[in-house]
C-alpha cells in the first residue's frame, strides 16, 4: 500500500529520528511512503494565530499537491502538522462556500479528496501486520503512553478512539509485547509552543509528566509528537544537570522498530538527549537471560 507523506519542518529538524523511524517502520510493515513533492509549511502555530483564512489555505496547498499527485491518504507524523492539515480538511468539507473559493485561493484545482491521518491511526489499522512481524517482543518493558493534546483535539476532527480517555496507543504498545502502565498525566499539557518564549513553564509541566510516569513504574515515555518529544526529552537537561534521574522519551515508531527487529541506528535512537541505551541494554540482558 502506498500512502502520501507529509513530514513537515520538525521531522527535518529536531524530530529527525521520528522521520527516520517512521520511514523504517513503514518499510518493515510494507507501507510505501510517497513524500508530497514541493510541500510547504503547515502554518503552525503562527498562521492560525493571525489569519483564519491563511490557516486553512496554507495546509490546503499541501493537500492540493497530494491530490494532484493522486494520493488518497496523507500520513502526517507530526501532531501539529496533523492538526493543521486535518482542520483544513474539515473546514473545507463543512463549508461549501469556502470549498468553492479554494481553487482560486490556491491557484490550482482542489476538491478536498485527501484524508489526513496520524501515525497512531495508520498503525492501529496495521495491528494484525504488526503482531505478525514482531520478531523481538518487548516483554516486560514498562512504558507510559503519552498522548498530549494535538492528536486528540478538537474531538469532532481528530479524537482517535475516545478523545477524553483514549487507549489506542496502549493497544499498539501491547501488540508488541510491552506493558503500558496506568498513570495519570497522559493527556496533560507538556508546555507545547512555550518552549522558546517561556521555558520555565515547559520545565515545570513536563517534569510533572515525567515524574508521574516514573512513579507509575515506567522505564520510558512513548510519544507521537515531535513537540512533546522535544519538551520532554530536551528539557530534562534543566534538572538532570542537578543529578536527578532521567526517563528516556521514545517515539512510538522507535519502540515499534525495535520490536520489528530494526537496528537502533536506523531508528535514530542515538539522537536523544536522554539516552535510551541503558534501558535497551537492560532489555537485551533480560532477553538473553530468557533464552
Amino acid at each position: 500500500m502506498t500512502i502520501g507523506y507529509y513530514p513537515g519542518c520538525s521531522l527535518h529538524g529536531t524530530g529527525r529520528e521520528y522521520d527516520e523511524s517512521v520511514r523504517a517502520v513503514a518499510g518493515a510493515l510494507g507501507l510505501t511512503l510517497r513524500e508530497i513533492d514541493d510541500w510547504s509549511c503547515c502554518g503552525a502555530t503562527s498562521a492560525h494565530s493571525v489569519n483564519p483564512l491563511l490557516a486553512v489555505v496554507l495546509p490546503a496547498r499541501n493537500l492540493a499537491l497530494a491530490e494532484s499527485a493522486g494520493m488518497t491518504d496523507v500520513l502526517t507524523p507530526c501532531a501539529a502538522c496533523y492538526n493543521r492539515l486535518a482542520r483544513s480538511e474539515h473546514a473545507v468539507a463543512t463549508n461549501p462556500e469556502l470549498a468553492e473559493k479554494m481553487p482560486r485561493l490556491l491557484g490550482r484545482p482542489f476538491s478536498n479528496s485527501v484524508h489526513v491521518r496520524t501515525v497512531l491511526d495508520v498503525l492501529r489499522e496495521s495491528l494484525p501486520v504488526i503482531k505478525e512481524k514482531t520478531v523481538q517482543p518487548l516483554k516486560g518493558m514498562k512504558v507510559a503512553c503519552y498522548y498530549g493534546c494535538l492528536l486528540l483535539r478538537p474531538a469532532e476532527i481528530a479524537g482517535g478512539d475516545d478523545p477524553e480517555s483514549p487507549t489506542f496507543m496502549e493497544e499498539i504498545v501491547k501488540a508488541i509485547g510491552a506493558e503500558p502502565v496506568t498513570w495519570n498525566l497522559r493527556m496533560d499539557c507538556c508546555g507545547g509552543s512555550m518552549s522558546i518564549p517561556h521555558a520555565e513553564s515547559v520545565v515545570r509541566l513536563s517534569r510533572a509528566i515525567l515524574e508521574d510516569a516514573r512513579s507509575a513504574g515506567a522505564e520510558a515515555l512513548v510519544v507521537a509528537c515531535p513537540m512533546c518529544h522535544s519538551n520532554l526529552d530536551f528539557r530534562q537537561q534543566a534538572y538532570t544537570n542537578k543529578g536527578e534521574t532521567t526517563l528516556p522519551v521514545l517515539y512510538l515508531t522507535e519502540l515499534l522498530g525495535l520490536a520489528l527487529g530494526l537496528n537502533a541506528e536506523s531508528l535514530g535512537l542515538k539522537r536523544h538527549f536522554v539516552s535510551p541505551a541503558p534501558m535497551l541494554e537492560r532489555m537485551a540482558v533480560a532477553a538473553k537471560e530468557a533464552v
Binding site: A155, D162, E164, S165, T167, N184, L185, M187
Partner: protein
C-alpha cells in the same frame, strides 16, 4: 330522493370576517338535493342547534351539512343534535370553512368561492352516507401492571382499591424497585424503606392484587378492553406455595461470592437469595448462573452441592422447576418499568452513547455512583449506614459530588436533564454531614434545578446549614495520587481551573430507560422517543395515555421522574384505568373497514399492510359445511379506520365505513365539476 339541509355558521366573526356567509348559504340552496340552507351567527349555540333540529323534522331531512369549524371541535356536538332529532348521527357531515378557509385566506371573494366548494363536496358526500351504528365492545375489568417499583405499586393499589382486579408483574424476585434501595428521600429526609415497605406488604395482602414476581411479559395480543397477555414465570427453583421464607437455605448456601445487585456491587450475596431482608414476597430464588449444583449439572456432574436441599426442612427447593407460561385476559395495561442508570465506564449498550473513561470509574474504587452512595448511607446497606469508602473502609473526610454525569452532555450522547440529580446530590451532602460531622462536601454543578414543592428550600439548607460547597463548573478528569483522588475541574464563576483533593467521589449519573424497553414497547404497539423513553399520547392533555388505547404509562419509563411525580402519574394512570372500567362497554366510532366477502379473493394483502393487526381470516362454508373459501375479516375492536387496506385491496373488496370510494369520488367530482 335526498333531502339535505345545509347550515352555514358565521362563528361570530371568525368565519364571517373573511367569508360572505349569507351568499354561501344562498349558493348551497341551489345544489341538487338541498332542501333547506340557512346561516347562523353561532350554530353550535343552543338556538343554533334548535334551528337544525326543527329543520330536520320540518323538512324530513336525510342528511345534514354543517359548514363551520373543524370536525375536531364540534362534530360530536352536531352528531348529537342530529340524533336527538331522530336522524342517524353518521348522516351529518362537516364542511370545515374556518381552519381550512377563513382563517387561512385573506381575499373575501376567493375565500367565499372556496367555502362554497367545500359545502358542495360535503353535500355530495352526505348524499352517499349510510346510517352507521356505534360499535360496542365488552371490557375485561382486570388490569395488568408491568413493573413493581413504586409506580407499579401505587397504580396497582389504586386500581385494586377502586374495586378492580390487578395482576402485578415484576421481573425481579421482589417488588420495591429502586425506591427500596434508597436511604432517605428528598425533600423531607424520610426513610425510603419506612414509607415503601408497608405499601409492598399491602400489595402482597390485597385481595384483588395478584402478584407475579420473577416474571416477565412475553407477548401481548388484542386491544383495549380485551388484551391477551402471556407472562413468563421464571423458574425460582423454590416452591413458592410452601416456602416459609425461613432463610435456612441462604445460610447453608456455600456460594457466597456473588456480587449483590441490591447493594450495587458493594457486597456479596449467596446463589439462593432474596434481594433484601424486607423482600416481598419473602421467598428466595436460585440464581441459575451462579448455583454450583446447576453449574456442575450443566457440565454433566449430578448431585453436586445441594446444601440448600438438605437445609430446607419442608422440601421447598425444586431443582426440577421450569419456566412456566401463563396467559391472562386483561382490559387495560399500565407500563411502570422505571429506569436504569447510565453506566460511566467505557462499555455502553448503545453506539450513540459514550462513557467517561477520564473519571476513572471502575479503576479508582472510591469513585462511585449515586446509587452506591445510597447503599452506603442506608441502614440496610453493606456498611449499616456508615459512610465508609470502598477501597479501605475508612471514613472519607472530603467527598466531591459531580452532577450531570451523562445528562445534558451532548458529547456523551444524552442531551436531556435527568431531573432528580440536583435534589439527591443536595440530599447526599446533607446525609454525609449528618453522619460525618467534620466531613466536607463539594458539589460540581451546571445549574441547580430545584423546582418542586420544598425543593429550593432543601438545596438552600444543604448549602447554608450543612455547609456543602457548590462549585459551578465541570470536572475534566480524576486520578489517584496515593490515597487521594485529585479532581481536576474548572470553576466557571471564578474563571479558573481548580484541583480538589477528595477521599471519595460520587457521580450523579443520568437516568436512562430500562434495557429491553423497546422490545416491550413493540409488544404493546406503543412508541418511544430517541432515547427509549415511552411516548405519551399528548404531552400536556393526555400525559399518561399512549397512542394505543388501553395502555397507560406511570413513572420513569416515560421520562426521568422523582418519587412524588412518579406516584402522581401512577395514580392518574390508575384513575384512567378505573374510568375505562366504569363504562358498561366500550363505544367506538363505526368508521372501520368492512370486507365484501362476495368479492374477496383471500389474497390477504390487507392483512400484511394493516398496522394494527386488525385483519384475520374467516372461512366461508356451504350448507354441508364444505369450505368454499377463506376471506379477510376485520376485527372492529382493533381497526383504527386508517384506510390502508382499502387503498391496497386489489379487488376493491374492503371499504372504510364513512369513507367509501363512492363517497370520496363524489367529493372529488364535486370539486372538479
Amino acid at each position: 330522493m335526498a333531502r339535505i339541509g345545509v347550515f352555514v355558521c358565521h362563528c361570530g366573526e371568525n368565519i364571517g370576517r373573511t367569508v360572505d356567509v349569507p351568499s354561501v348559504a344562498r349558493a348551497a340552496q341551489g345544489f341538487p338535493g338541498v332542501v333547506v340552507s340557512k346561516d347562523n351567527k353561532y350554530t353550535c349555540s343552543e338556538p343554533g342547534q334548535a334551528i337544525i333540529r326543527e329543520a330536520i323534522r320540518e323538512h324530513m331531512l336525510t342528511g345534514v351539512v354543517i359548514a363551520a369549524c373543524s370536525p375536531h371541535m364540534h362534530e360530536r356536538t352536531f352528531r348529537r343534535v342530529c340524533a336527538s332529532a331522530g336522524l342517524n348521527p353518521f348522516l351529518c357531515e362537516i364542511a370545515n370553512i374556518r381552519e381550512h378557509c377563513s382563517w387561512i385566506h385573506e381575499d373575501r371573494g376567493e375565500a367565499t368561492a372556496k367555502a362554497i366548494d367545500l359545502v358542495r363536496l360535503a353535500v355530495e358526500k352526505v348524499k352517499r352516507n349510510i346510517p352507521l351504528e356505534t360499535i360496542s365492545i365488552p371490557i375485561e375489568r382486570k388490569a395488568l401492571v408491568i413493573g413493581g417499583g413504586i409506580a407499579g405499586i401505587q397504580a396497582a393499589l389504586d386500581i385494586a382499591d377502586g374495586g378492580r382486579e390487578v395482576i402485578l408483574v415484576e421481573k425481579e424476585p421482589s417488588i420495591g424497585g429502586h425506591m427500596s434501595q434508597l436511604s432517605e428521600t428528598f425533600p423531607t429526609l424520610d426513610c425510603s424503606q419506612c414509607i415503601l415497605t408497608p405499601r409492598m406488604v399491602e400489595v402482597a395482602q390485597h385481595p384483588r392484587i395478584r402478584l407475579m414476581t420473577y416474571s416477565e411479559v412475553e407477548s401481548v395480543d388484542g386491544y383495549v378492553g380485551n388484551f391477551d397477555v402471556t407472562i413468563r414465570k421464571k423458574a425460582r427453583k423454590v416452591d413458592a406455595t410452601i416456602c416459609t421464607g425461613c432463610g435456612a437455605c441462604m445460610t447453608a448456601c456455600v456460594q457466597r461470592k456473588v456480587s449483590n445487585e441490591f447493594d450495587e456491587g458493594l457486597s456479596k450475596r449467596t446463589a439462593i437469595y432474596t434481594p433484601f431482608p424486607q423482600a416481598v414476597p419473602n421467598i428466595p430464588v436460585i440464581d441459575q448462573m451462579k448455583c454450583l449444583r446447576i453449574l456442575s449439572q450443566k457440565k454433566g456432574k449430578q448431585d453436586a452441592c445441594g446444601k440448600c436441599l438438605d437445609a430446607c426442612a419442608i422440601g421447598a427447593i425444586r431443582f426440577d422447576q421450569e419456566d412456566e407460561l401463563v396467559t391472562e385476559k386483561v382490559g387495560a395495561i399500565v407500563v411502570a418499568t422505571g429506569y436504569s442508570l447510565y453506566s460511566i465506564g467505557k462499555e455502553q449498550d448503545s453506539p450513540d452513547i459514550s462513557g467517561y473513561g477520564e473519571y476513572g470509574y471502575g479503576t479508582i474504587p472510591d469513585v462511585i455512583d449515586g446509587m452506591q452512595f445510597e447503599r452506603l448511607a442506608s441502614a440496610s446497606g453493606p456498611t449499616a449506614g456508615k459512610i465508609l469508602r470502598p477501597s479501605d473502609g475508612k471514613e472519607p473526610k472530603r467527598i466531591v459530588f459531580l452532577q450531570c454525569i451523562g445528562s445534558r452532555d451532548r458529547a456523551k450522547g444524552i442531551d436531556y436533564c435527568s431531573k432528580i440529580c440536583c435534589m439527591y446530590v443536595a440530599k447526599h451532602t446533607m446525609l454525609y454531614r449528618h453522619k460525618v460531622h467534620d466531613g466536607q462536601a463539594t458539589v460540581f454543578y451546571m445549574d441547580v434545578r430545584a423546582n418542586g414543592k420544598g425543593y429550593d428550600e432543601f438545596t438552600r439548607r444543604a448549602i447554608e446549614e450543612d455547609g456543602a460547597v457548590y462549585m459551578r463548573g465541570r470536572v475534566s478528569r480524576m486520578y489517584r495520587d496515593g490515597d487521594v483522588i485529585k479532581v481536576v475541574g474548572f470553576d466557571t464563576l471564578a474563571g479558573e481551573p481548580v484541583t480538589i483533593d477528595a477521599d471519595m467521589v460520587v457521580l450523579a449519573t443520568a437516568i436512562r430507560p430500562r434495557p429491553g424497553i423497546k422490545d416491550l414497547a413493540q409488544k404493546l404497539s406503543i412508541s418511544y422517543d430517541k432515547h427509549g423513553f415511552l411516548n405519551e399520547a399528548h404531552p400536556k392533555l393526555r400525559p399518561v395515555e399512549t397512542n394505543t388505547a388501553g395502555v397507560f404509562l406511570a413513572g420513569a419509563c416515560q421520562a426521568p421522574r422523582d418519587i412524588p411525580d412518579t406516584v402522581a402519574t401512577a395514580s392518574s394512570a390508575a384513575a384512567k384505568v378505573l374510568g375505562l372500567f366504569s363504562q358498561e362497554s366500550l363505544e367506538r366510532e363505526p368508521t372501520v373497514a368492512r370486507v365484501d366477502i362476495s368479492h374477496c379473493a383471500g389474497c390477504f394483502t390487507c392483512e400484511r399492510v394493516c398496522p394494527y393487526g386488525a385483519i384475520g381470516h374467516r372461512e366461508i362454508r356451504d350448507r354441508q359445511g364444505r369450505l368454499i373459501k377463506t376471506v379477510a375479516d376485520v376485527n372492529p375492536g382493533v381497526c383504527q379506520g386508517c384506510g390502508t387496506c382499502q387503498a391496497t385491496c386489489p379487488s376493491k373488496s374492503v371499504e372504510l365505513m364513512g369513507f367509501t370510494d363512492e363517497q370520496i369520488f363524489a367529493e372529488v367530482n364535486a370539486i372538479l365539476a
